[in-house]
Symmetry: C2
Subunit: 453 residues, 2 copies
């Protein structure tokens, strides 16, 4: 069985939904689809989810609820009419929205979530109706029927019982259309996943039914080896391992939300990223393992917005527990860190700057000086991380040298190098103003077509 | 004022002690000397300290104490006679040893320490007597008069009051001869520093009197830029910073015991490593800061005997506290670590293998799997660390590339790269069987004379 997920642009209008129908029809193994809310149809279009956030805001702040609600209904109405459906589905959607608006507003967060999630929920109903209308029997299944989430205030995740509840999904004759993005707690409270959460829903469904394949339909032909906004026409990736995909999760590789792959990863279910607008393209396969090609590097990702906490202390390396105590101080500020490169008497902690405030920095510096008696403690900002990833790097002796040489040819300085023993990745810390230049230089080094010299 | 320390080979016999006298005589600022026990006079000679350990062993295990004691006395007697001293000093030494042998044997450790330390103690007495005999008024000062140490079972260190007690040392007309290697607790128990501890004594004395210079006399002309046992005829280092010296403290740079520089470092007192056998050679100066020369690298050190603990877990980087918990488990086994290179979902901990046992490894692997729910945890052994050090590396963009390229030309693989934000050092982890080959390749890369191509 194949579980498919269709993102916002794949279900943005009637034309797109017809493409989805054709994709499902072309392979009978595609029995379950998770769908997003209608996304953008053109560059400056408004996503239904954003319209719903405006609606919720109007309901909470005495805005023009009627007008905003009608705008959402009209958007679905246009799709329904273009798909040749009668008005009954739009009445269902309008009634559903009115019920949500009338919902208890004591907890604004829950109220907003409830309205936001209606985009996916109603789109799933509409798509199921359309499939049935064209002779593809389909049924809408609500997350109420099995997708059980944990309670507040923890980050949202599916409880283990969900996988048991949903294991027979798709065993009937009908195609299952399941809304992405949300589920319910045991008490019946609706909770949403983080943005991009339809990917998680698809992944949970694929894991529940132990699918042979999880197809993730989006609007690009494949995952690129580098950010196309920086590198001109980067090579597409045909196969990539879970591990490589994870290591590349810095920007330019935001095809998947961080946690979305977890359920399928645990069962080694292969994932295929495909293009709804070009379904015959092979797309990018994400696999537990892959055959190595001649190219050692699979992708290069980069991200800015990092800071470095630098700590030095004479004889630091003789002190059992120094590093642990330092990390404890950082943990007590509820800060996660990326890397901790070290010399004999110094250690640096690489942190995402958005977790820092001037107050937190001051507290950390003071505590490290006073509690750990460090000689020197300070923060540096404006750092970018560049990650070179490839399963083929492991046995490639000259790779680090090639990477460092490519960077040095740009004239940029390397602030940090970190190569773990896994050798699937090589991380460079650089000044953010040199990031794009370095990304291009590294891409040229590892992906440029070989010219005969 | 200058404080001098003379190591074991510098005071091994009469000829060497005459050299010491000439060195002291040539500069009136040399008012305080810390001395070791007589060391080896030739390749397979026995150090006095080792003779004393044998003596202690004989005393504790019903061995031939008389014979072993006489051997030690004879060694001093030979020196005294060659220096033209009468027999009285030898009687002092013999009596001192007999008293030590008669000491309470309840605590064997304290008993052995007491005997071991007599080598330095009696040599200081002998040297003071000799200096005086040749018209250089000198006095032996016992560590009892001020060098106060902490109590057991902590590692030995000097209490802050020692620096106050000893601050007027050398203010008289006489040259002070102070035995290295030991001091006394407040209760009057003799404790020794770790081996190489005469360096610490000299450093403490230099800090106490706020010396202008701490001269450390040994038997080499200078500190070398790489281990001369591996690299053929390495360049000598004329100036090096404290920080560089510390980063180079892996093998091949064992001129100083780890903690020996701490007291002088704190007061920024310059250190000069010099050769007793060639005192006109400028030696190596260890300074708080130095003028940068054209050469970015100051030295390269290497050491084997490291292991890597490898831990991977999907979504590790999302877990606040993962690294800290891992280090806590390692700390609870009383293990210190060198570096923790990391990818997004994996972290490696570099540990000196001599801290590990099969049991400890098993416990760590089990705990990391069970408590941290890691996907994969294992140890790898036979790893060497190679450290390239230089204050001039900071602004040298191509250096990491040159180093990595030099390593890759040997055909060896790089298991780990770690460059902290201090940029004074660059660390490579490699398989131990490739260590020497890589050290030579790196030396050639950074120290070979520039040839015109």
């Amino acid at each position: 069985m194949i579980v498919c997920k269709f993102g916002g642009t794949s279900v943005a209008n009637a034309e797109q939904i017809r493409k989805v129908a054709n994709i499902i029809k072309s392979n009978p193994a595609r029995k379950i689809i998770a769908v997003s809310a209608p996304g953008k149809r053109f560059g400056d279009d408004i996503k239904v989810t954003d319209m719903l956030i405006e609606l919720a805001d109007a309901a909470l702040n005495n805005g023009d609820v009627t007008k905003k609600l009608q705008a959402v209904v009209n958007r679905f109405k246009e799709i329904a009419e273009d798909l040749g459906l009668d008005n009954s589905i739009c009445e269902v959607i309008a009634k559903d929205l009115q019920e949500r608006i009338a919902y208890d507003k004591t907890n604004e967060f829950i109220f907003i979530d409830n309205i936001k999630a209606s985009g996916e929920d109603n789109n799933a109903k509409l798509i199921a109706e359309y499939f049935t209308s064209i002779g593809m029997p389909a049924k809408y299944v609500s997350p109420k029927d099995g997708l059980v989430l944990n309670d507040f205030p923890e980050r949202t995740y599916a409880l283990a019982e969900s996988y048991e509840n949903l294991k027979n999904l798709g065993s009937g004759d009908e195609i299952v259309v399941f809304p992405g993005f949300f589920g319910y707690t045991k008490e019946g409270i609706l909770r949403t996943f983080d943005r991009g959460g339809s990917d998680i829903t698809g992944s949970i469904l694929a894991a529940s039914v132990k699918a042979d394949l999880y197809e993730n339909f989006t609007d690009v032909d494949c995952v690129f080896s580098a950010n196309p906004k920086v590198v001109n026409d980067p090579v597409g990736i045909s196969e990539i391992t879970y591990r490589e995909m994870r290591e590349l999760s810095y920007s330019g590789f935001s095809v998947f939300h961080d946690e979305a792959l977890m359920p399928v990863y645990k069962l080694s279910i292969p994932v295929n990223v495909k293009n709804t607008n070009n379904p015959s393209a092979p797309g990018t396969k994400i696999l537990p393992t892959r055959t190595l090609t001649g190219r050692p590097v699979t992708g290069i990702s980069a991200d800015n917005g990092f800071s470095i906490l630098y700590v030095s202390k004479y004889l630091m390396n003789r002190e059992i527990g120094f590093g642990r105590k330092l990390l404890q101080i950082i943990e007590e500020e509820q800060i996660s860190y990326e890397h901790t490169p070290s010399g004999l008497d110094d250690i640096s902690v690489i942190i995402r700057s958005n977790q820092l405030t001037e107050e937190k920095e001051q507290r950390i510096v003071t505590r490290v000086k006073e509690e750990l008696h460090a000689d020197d403690v300070y923060f540096r900002h404006g750092i970018s991380m560049i990650v070179i990833v490839g399963e083929g790097m492991r046995n490639n002796t000259g790779l680090a040298a090639r990477a460092a040489a490519a960077i040095s040819r740009t004239g940029a300085n390397i602030e940090m190098i970190n190569q773990g023993s896994s050798e699937v990745s090589l991380v460079f810390g650089v000044l953010s103003q040199t990031e794009n230049q370095i990304l291009r230089a590294l891409y040229d080094e590892f992906f440029a077509p070989i010219t005969v010299g």
